[in-house]
Amino acid sequence: MSPKVRVALYWLASCGGCEESQVDAISDKIDIISNLEIVFWPVAMDFKKEDVEKLPDESIDVAVINGGVRLKEHVEMVKLLRRKSKIVIAYGSCASWGGIPGLANLYDINEVLSRVYSEVPTLQEKGVMPRPKSVTNEGMEIELTEVLPMLLPLDAVIDVDYYIPGCPPTPETFLKALETLLSGNLPPRKSVIGASTRALCEECPLNKTKPDKVLIKEIRRIYNTKIDPSKCLLVQGIPCLGPVTRGGCNAKCPRVGSPCIGCYGPLDKHIDYGAKAISFIASILDLNDENEIKKALDNGIPDPAGLVHKFTLPASRLKVNLKRGEHK
């Protein structure tokens, strides 16, 4: 019997969806589980940082990391995992390009903190800010890590060998990626694994309902549009990101009448995912009058960054923090 694959699983700024998809994928795959030896998985098992530090360098076969790099602690942990692992995988949209929390990069970090700790209307105690050092009611001194000024994708801090995209990656995507990794026939480093090399439209059942020419006169939003789930959403004026987003999810959203929001991220040839997305939407908008165009964009895309960079802002060309108000 060949030795088991030694795996470390870790989460950074993450919602837990990635773990759910991982568990979902392999909970009934005894043949896979029996092949793995989990050496670190703090979300589910009792491991500490010291356990990893004690391991020899490159003694972990694969480290699977999800979530974006938001804290100083994250930087330390991923550098440690990098040193201890042969292969590091960015799992999910946050680890790959920043994900939804990455949209916070549109704002200065102090504004983000003030929003979260003072302004959110559901706060019970407003204005209690996180501090590096504090004393509890019991008189215990505790230390908190620092928040970074921007949320970073994993590869901004360490070298990443492979990417598994999705928010979260579907169980099928994870299984396909595992299959690739366990096959021993490894693709070139920096590749995206477990997903398609082509855009989502290819696997979308609605794609065949497109007319020859895809041109729209209006950009519609789902909250006030009656969608026909049997027809291509783009043709109905809904800015579905299927044409620009990597396939591999089996078109889960468009299949049920909901537009692709881009969680499988960029294709190999993209230089900037969001730029490509806004460029193709602009291309199919079949209007010539300046005022009509402005109206269509104002009504249809009130939040351009949120539409085209929902999962990819920290990895985009738009790297600068903006003060609130400046992005308008």
Partner: protein, 648 residues
């Protein structure tokens, strides 16, 4: 290509002193030779000369170059020259890149140091691009040896004759029911004074006798597909209702109860809904004005030879042609009601109505009378609708000045005691026509120069013309019996034509030529040519020349050729990456993209013969599967990186 495999030659042209006067060409060459991958960098007085080209050819052979950069003038001027040189030396011509350090550098800058730095930047960028270029093969396109001429005015006739005499199949169509165009409305073609209808008659007679010529009247192009060498044109021909049996007996005209103003007589007289436009008209048969005809059927009963059939429907004709000549002409400016008194009295007329009044076969039999009276004091106002008036094109109409002077002489020969005033802003009787101007002066015609357009007021029998004479700077009032507005040329239906043929228009609204000086009679679309006033105001002689020019360019393209080679700088799909999202299909203005199946997968595919290389699809392609040969992302980004040194 990896740096160590790259062998690039860089050639900096002095262009005499055009470039070398501002740019330190030696310094640029020295700099280029320091860039990795460059094995030779030279500078020379005229790279486009035989010696210059040989330098490149020799280096390609001796130094085994696999990339060439020439920094010289505009690619519009010499890209083909250098491409051919590269090709002759055995290197793929698409591994060559041209840098414009004349128009983009030496001609636009005065600071020697900065201009030299800019030239170095441009050269460095081109070298970076050449490293990413790929060899390309030209696309072979089969040629159909026939030409469509749209419009049968003098320009169209001249083009069609030139082509037909060379033996090509020619289709000539006109949206009107007769051939001849605008010129058939003129009586005095200055300076020779020939009647327009007589002028075009021999041209039409020769043309329609030729077996390789097909004429379609009442016909318009409604769509065009395909590209140079093989256009597919769809034509709609409105019914003429009258067959070739027509003997011109005229019984139908007598029977017809409908009367409308006769546009062939400047609307000075009325005609019937069934009518003969003029006696020399081709095709030689009566025509029916569809807009006026009520289909009462009286003409059918009156026709002794049963030539009329009102049940005929419009028909569609599909043509396959190798080239297209657009000669749709112009429309004369129609003044607004009240503009210089026009429409307020019958004694303010346009130059075209004057033409009819001077024609022996016109409504007055050539007697120069208005309302039964001989006008004694006549005022001509020039440039109406071209340089002055409610709507101007800001383009001189070229034929008017000589026509005005010619017409005044004609009037004086009929009524020697007429007082004639010509109100003008500029007199442009150029070339041989200058003589007419002096003759008019000698014969007592008074030339009044204005800067502010004159004002015209109708006062009972008289028409008062107020004008400030610009040379003596005095206000003048002329009580006139007749005012003639010399109207300019406006674009004829150009909006529709540019839409169908995918061309563009000038600021004045005429159809744009590819280049006024370097590529006259051509459009930017290969295989589509322009002739006559459609491309801007022209006199009759100029239109005849322009028509022949367009025809000879079409001949050069098609004559004795089975196929032509087209530049492979077209869009191309990476079928492996294409998701079949179809975004590109809707983008293509040339209908060059279609869908095909690779196994089960649907992917986009580009017809390289239809693609005009605009790049719109490549920009729109959401996945990066569509790229443009010669302008791929990696090639453009290499240039950007070389310029800015940034990581993109």
């Amino acid at each position: 290509m990896r740096d160590k495999d790259v062998r690039i030659g860089v050639y900096i042209c002095h262009c005499g002193t055009n470039i070398a006067g501002i740019v330190d060409v030696e310094e640029v060459a020295r700099y280029a030779s320091s860039i990795p991958g460059v094995v030779v960098a030279r500078h020379y007085t005229f790279m486009c000369s035989e010696t210059g080209q040989n330098m490149i050819k020799d280096d390609i052979k001796n130094l085994k170059l696999n990339g060439v950069v020439v920094a010289a003038c505009s690619p519009a001027l010499h890209e083909v020259t250098f491409k051919n040189a590269v090709k002759e030396a055995g290197l793929n011509p698409y591994l060559f890149e041209m840098v414009n350090i004349r128009e983009h550098c030496s001609w636009t800058h005065t600071d020697r140091r900065l201009a030299t730095e800019k030239a170095k930047d441009l050269v460095r960028m081109a070298i970076a691009k050449v490293k990413e270029l790929e060899p390309l093969e030209e696309v072979k396109a089969e040629v159909v040896n026939s030409v469509l001429v749209v419009g049968s005015g003098v320009a169209g006739l001249s083009a069609a004759l030139t082509l037909a005499r060379a033996g090509l199949t020619v289709y000539i169509i006109d949206k009107r029911p007769v051939l001849g165009g605008f010129v058939t409305r003129l009586v005095n073609i200055a300076p020779i004074g020939i009647r327009g209808r007589e002028f075009v008659k021999p041209m039409i007679d020769e043309l329609v006798e030729m077996p390789n010529v097909k004429v379609l009247t009442n016909a318009e192009v409604i769509s065009v597909e395909g590209g140079v060498g093989n256009f597919k044109v769809r034509i709609r021909q409105r019914p003429t209702y009258i067959s070739d049996l027509c003997t011109l007996c005229g019984y139908c005209e007598k029977a017809c109860p409908i009367e409308v103003p006769n546009e062939y007589e400047g609307k000075l007289t009325m005609r019937k809904a069934i009518y003969l436009p003029f006696k020399e008209a081709y095709p030689p048969k009566y025509v029916i004005d569809e807009n006026a005809c009520t289909k009462c059927g009286k003409c059918i009963d009156a026709c002794p030879v049963k030539a009329i059939d009102l049940s005929v429907k419009e028909r569609y004709i599909d043509l396959n042609v190798g080239a297209i000549i657009i000669a749709v002409g112009h429309e004369p400016y129609e003044p607004d009601k009240g503009e210089f008194g026009y429409g307020l009295t019958r004694r303010v007329i346009t130059s075209l109505q004057l033409e009819r009044l001077l024609d022996e076969e016109g409504p007055t039999g050539g007697r120069f009378i208005i309302d039964g009276k001989v006008p004694k004091t006549i005022v001509f106002i020039s440039c109406v609708g071209s340089l002055i008036g409610n709507k101007t094109t800001n383009a001189c109409s070229r034929r008017c000045c000589s026509t005005i002077t010619y017409d005044t002489l004609k009037i004086l020969s009929k009524n020697p005691d007429s007082h004639i005033y010509i109100l003008y802003r500029d007199i442009r009787t150029y070339g041989f026509e200058e003589e007419l101007y002096w003759k008019a002066l000698e014969n007592g015609v008074v030339f009044v120069k204005f800067e502010e357009p004159p004002k015209v007021e109708v006062m009972g029998d008289k028409i008062m013309v107020y004008v400030r004479e610009a040379t003596i700077n005095k206000n003048i009032v002329i009580p006139a019996d007749l005012v003639v507005l010399f109207v300019g040329m406006t674009p004829s239906n150009a909006g529709e034509i540019v839409r169908i043929f995918k061309l563009s228009r000038t600021a004045d609204g005429f159809i744009r030529e590819a280049h006024l000086k370097l590529r006259p009679a051509e459009t930017p679309t290969e295989g589509i040519f322009l002739a006559g006033a459609a491309a801007g105001p022209k006199g009759v002689m100029e239109s005849v020349i322009h028509g022949a020019a367009a025809a000879s360019k079409a001949l050069a393209l098609l004559l004795n050729k089975k196929y032509i080679l087209r530049e492979p700088l077209v869009a191309k799909v990476d079928e492996e990456l294409c998701s079949g999202c179809l975004i590109c299909v809707g983008m293509c203005p040339f209908n060059a993209i279609s869908v095909k199946y690779v196994g089960e997968r649907r992917v986009a595919t580009v017809n390289p013969l239809l693609c005009m290389g605009c790049g719109t699809c490549a920009a729109a392609c959401p996945s990066g599967a569509m790229e443009h040969n010669g302008f791929k992302d990696k090639q453009i980004l290499a240039q950007v990186r070389a310029f800015a040194g940034v990581v993109v």
